[in-house]
Amino acid sequence: MLKNFFPNKILSINHQLINGLIILMIFIILFGLAYSLFLSPEDYIQGDSVRIMYVHVPSSFIALGIFALIGTGSILNLIFKIKIMPLITKSLAPIGSIFTLISIVTGSLWGKPTWGIWWVWDARLTSMLILLFFYLSYVLTWKFIKNFEKANKISSIIGIVGLINLPVIKYSVDWWNTLHQPSSITLTSAPTIHHTMLVPLLIMLAGMIVYSLIVFLMKYKTELIKFKLNKNKKK
């Protein structure tokens, strides 16, 4: 399966794959939006302002998930020095940064009508902002450091140190008193979201994951072409 990521194969399957994924994404997102905005019920406390959750929660999941991939890839990169690994992590970073930003902005828009405030420096919100800084450092490292190997080493360190932030983000609402509420969806207990609201949330998550995959594949294709060109230049 790893063979599919090797330069020759990935350039040929990309075109139809990306178009197919775009069509799939449009269907899923349209269905998800219709469900989230119209078909799902309002919340017993928050009323209709709960509907921001259908964008905020999936974005947060994706932001964390993508950084976990980047961190893991950075570890593999530093230990095993797999040639295409930095290209993969480099292609994941931009879409991860965008979803972190979306999470923070939609969270803020949700906070004002419910909590009464746009932003607080509690552990959850602050650690998400720190995640954004890690993402931005990662992206800017690749942008401004011209030497590939140097950029690779520095960005890998950023990815690995940033991994420590991930459990802090996830458990911040359990370890400390925060304004942000505890997790509604956990691996160990039943969800505290009613199924009529959980289903649209999962649909939106699926659609946003497909979107992330599309953006990743497009950037990965570009990075592969650049990598091959540079390799040929050196020869």
Partner: protein, 141 residues
């Protein structure tokens, strides 16, 4: 694949990672009071050193039946079901502020039982459900 060079890289990486985790753990532990967003009434009750004129936040549930409006001022009690603190506040209240629901008050402690707030935030829990379902749950309780 696991030759000497790879093994030494794994070792150094794990070592530095472990050190970084330790540093972050001890930093967060020593900053404890600043990392928590609010104290519960029980935590205030048990605290040995409180400065009574420092800005502080208290969070918990609004005690049922404790909301008392006198003109501009509103008085209520924050409880964590073990200890209570009386709060008085004048100003705007968030929409979600109500009895039996979560609240975070920011202001100054007069003494361990009485708090003057200059900002009130509503805190909601992690339960999401349609109004019909919550009515059914209330009836069965």
């Amino acid at each position: 694949m696991l030759n000497k060079r790879v093994k030494s890289r794994i070792f150094f990486l794990s070592f530095f990672f472990f050190i970084a985790v330790l540093i972050i753990f001890f930093t967060l532990k020593s900053l404890q009071d600043n990392v928590v967003y609010f104290f519960s009434p029980t935590e205030i009750h048990n605290k040995s050193e409180i400065s009574f004129n420092k800005k502080i936040r208290i969070g918990g549930l609004v005690k049922m039946g404790s909301i008392n409006k006198e003109g501009n001022m509103i008085n209520f009690i924050i409880t964590d079901l073990k200890n209570e603190i009386a709060v008085s506040y004048s100003g705007l209240l968030p929409n979600l502020f109500s009895e039996g629901k979560g609240v975070v008050a920011e202001g100054k402690l007069n003494d361990k039982k009485y708090f003057i707030a200059n900002k009130i935030l509503a805190k909601h829990d992690e339960n999401y459900m349609p109004p019909e379902v919550s009515k059914v749950l209330e009836k069965s309780n």
